[in-house]
């Protein structure tokens, strides 16, 4: 509710910020926005590229929504994506066979690896009360290190020790595509399914209801007979699995090999998406699409206007910050209590 009301004002403020930034960058705002839009949706190929970025982003965001609803800051999602990619790469490299066999295996491998990696912060949190932010960040770096180790070590190209990546996977392990379109229907399907599942889970299911109960007030939840720790662990595992699938899409659907920066930063970007969505599942997909469009379209800024594409990140970040702060001001002026992130209908 609150966020809905603040939306128009926030959007106005955000747009203002963006325009200011564009001016500072010496770019004609309207032109730049048009270029970005065309770059994202102008042709079917570009639409494909945009969806290619949307897929891992929305998967990560959907997973994060679960952990956020459970009151967890699963910053470690980046590492869970990387681990998922590693699991998928492992499958792709070790299993010979037709796509029908290998592709599902890579997806499963990714999900399992991602979930397993997410269980570490879960365990540290429930057993040792280690805050998931720090264990998560640490584990993300460790995951990245493992990826690099595999790339220049055991999985390196013969005679080569380069972080530019492993050998290309056997095409039968690639996510299948249609024609020249790079976005894989399988990946997109997985993403749509994930969002739908999370939506149902958090809004419709008893499980989701309990997750939210635990996230809002673990003590009360315990009193009502909910095994809170088990639900925290479950939330981590689910987010990890979805992140792992995102990693799989990155590895077998996009790069077709394992590269060091395999997560593509979609985990962190996913956090932004969820924050901007105000923790509501329905908004995840469109906002993720919006972010993916900015991300992909911004390449055109370099190509056509000679503006550095990192402007995309600036716009995304500024947007979320402004919305947060505007929302804060409204609560503030409404003289209400502290805004606890994690609240808001799922």
């Amino acid at each position: 509710m609150k966020r809905l009301r603040s939306a128009p004002l926030a959007l106005a403020a955000a747009l203002g910020a963006i325009v200011v930034i564009l001016f500072a960058a010496g770019a004609p705002p309207l032109e730049a926005m048009r270029v970005i839009f065309e770059g994202a949706f102008g042709t079917t190929d570009r639409l494909g590229a945009t969806l290619m970025a949307w897929t891992p982003l929305v998967l990560a965001a959907a997973g994060l929504l679960i952990t956020f609803q459970a009151g967890l800051w699963n910053i470690g999602v980046e590492g869970q994506i990387a681990m998922g990619a590693i699991g998928a790469a492992w499958m792709a490299r070790s299993v010979e066979g037709p796509s029908l066999v290998v592709v599902p295996l890579t997806l499963i491998g990714g999900a399992v690896f991602g979930a397993a990696w997410a269980l570490i912060p879960a365990w540290l949190r429930t057993r040792f009360r280690v805050h998931e932010i720090f264990s998560g960040v640490a584990l993300s770096f460790v995951a990245a290190a493992i990826a690099v180790y595999l790339i220049i070590g055991p999985w390196s190209r013969t005679g080569v020790a380069s972080t530019s990546g492993t050998d290309i996977f056997d095409p039968r392990a690639w996510l299948p595509t249609i024609g020249s379109w790079r976005a894989s229907p399988v990946g997109i399907g997985a993403a749509v399914a994930a969002v739908a599942a999370v939506l149902v889970l958090l809004r419709g299911s008893r499980f989701g209801l309990r997750i939210r109960a635990v996230g809002r007030n673990a003590e009360s939840a315990h009193l009502l007979g909910i095994p809170t720790q088990r639900y925290l662990v479950a939330a981590f595992a689910m987010c990890g699995a979805l992140a792992g699938i995102a990693g799989t899409v990155q590895a077998t659907g996009f790069h077709h090999k394992l590269v060091p920066s395999i997560s593509g930063g979609y985990g962190f970007l996913g956090v932004l998406v969820v924050l901007l969505a105000g923790f509501r599942a329905l908004w995840i997909a469109p906002i993720a699409l919006f972010f993916a469009a900015i991300q992909v379209g911004s390449t055109q800024l370099s190509l056509r206007l000679g503006i550095d594409s990192s402007l995309a990140g600036v716009i995304q970040g500024a947007l979320v910050l402004v919305v947060l702060i505007v929302g804060g001001f409204q609560v503030y002026s409404a003289a209400r209590g502290p805004v606890v992130t994690g609240e808001g209908e799922a």
Binding site: A24, Y149, F268, D308
Partner: protein
């Protein structure tokens, strides 16, 4: 000797950052934007120095930037009662992207650097002189930062107040300490140090600007604040150890090149380990039984870390 001197010099930026965040967190505020702040201040610092030709201007600009970011964290956390973690995280990403964007024209440019300056007399001391006193002001500054902060927190009235505010704000309030003003002050001061960290990278350690120049430095710093138990001295020690570790990692490469990257992530595993140990019941018991040992065994997080306080 050369090696140790190199380690000491390389630790400077990290030390600035960790000391800054320590002050902030001691007052009960978490500035999660560190990694972005450092990168942006490194970029701005270099840009300012390159344009003005003055290293001083560079440092000032860097400090201004990261103080602004810290100010946003403090304001939205204290005044707007927003979740400090959320705001800090968004600022982390935003600042990072701003650095990439506005830094683009400065990539590969050469600008002024902090001039080397052997401390008279001190640098003549045999071993110590070469290791500690044959660097430049930026590096010496990191020593000062540690010593000054250690002294401030342990010996000065304001320092005691900062810790009080982070430990039990209502009790501080009952003693007439302006809780939120102190928190603003501490967050801004911490932010200033973070700016120093950025400038120390782009104007000294890796003189110049390149995208992701300082990446991970902020996260490492956040980790080391915990690892160092919110104690400036231990925190600084952790930084030196870390840098030493990296050096050793480099030496390992000839034998097994592929392990280097893994080794560079070692501190994070160490941090998890540290956190885990600190939280085990047995450890608490030990710490309780030997209060004298506590400062060395484990630092305790400021009790009110990340909370807000509002006198009715």
């Amino acid at each position: 000797m050369e090696v140790l001197a190199g380690v000491v010099a390389a630790s400077a930026p990290l030390i600035y950052a960790v000391v800054g965040e320590t002050i902030t967190e001691k007052a009960g505020v978490v500035n999660l934007s560190l990694d972005g702040s450092i990168m942006l201040s490194a970029m701005v610092g270099f840009a300012a120095a390159a344009t003005s030709g003055s290293v001083i201007v560079g440092f000032v600009a860097a400090i201004a930037v990261s103080m602004t970011i810290a100010g946003v964290v403090a304001f939205s956390g204290i005044a707007l009662r927003l979740n400090q973690i959320a705001v800090g995280f968004v600022l982390f990403l935003l600042a990072k992207q701003l650095a990439l964007f506005f830094g683009d024209p400065y990539i590969g440019r050469t600008g002024p650097q902090v001039a080397a300056w052997d401390l008279p007399l001190l640098s003549d001391i045999p071993v110590v002189g070469e290791v500690f006193f044959s660097h430049n002001l930026s590096v010496y500054g990191s020593f000062v930062a540690v010593i000054a902060t250690g002294f401030f927190l342990a010996r000065t009235r304001r320092g005691l107040e900062v810790r009080a505010v982070g430990e039990r704000p209502e009790a501080a309030h009952a003693r007439g300490i302006p809780v939120n003003r102190v928190r603003y002050a501490a967050t801004l001061v911490g932010g200033a140090f973070v700016g120093m960290a950025g400038a120390a990278v782009s104007l000294d350690q890796i003189a110049g600007w390149r995208e992701n120049l300082t990446v991970n430095l902020g996260w490492i710093a956040l980790a080391f604040v915990i690892f160092g138990g919110w104690n400036p001295w231990r925190v600084a020690l952790a930084c030196l150890l870390y840098r030493g570790l990296l050096f050793v990692a480099g030496e390992f490469q000839v034998e097994f090149p592929e392990f280097v990257q893994v080794l560079t992530q070692l501190p994070f595993l160490l941090m998890i380990l540290a956190l885990t140990v600190l939280n085990t019941e047995r450890f608490r018991v030990v710490a309780r039984r030997f209060p004298r040992l506590r400062p060395f065994l484990a630092g305790e997080a400021p009790t009110a870390l990340g909370t807000t306080f509002h006198p009715e």
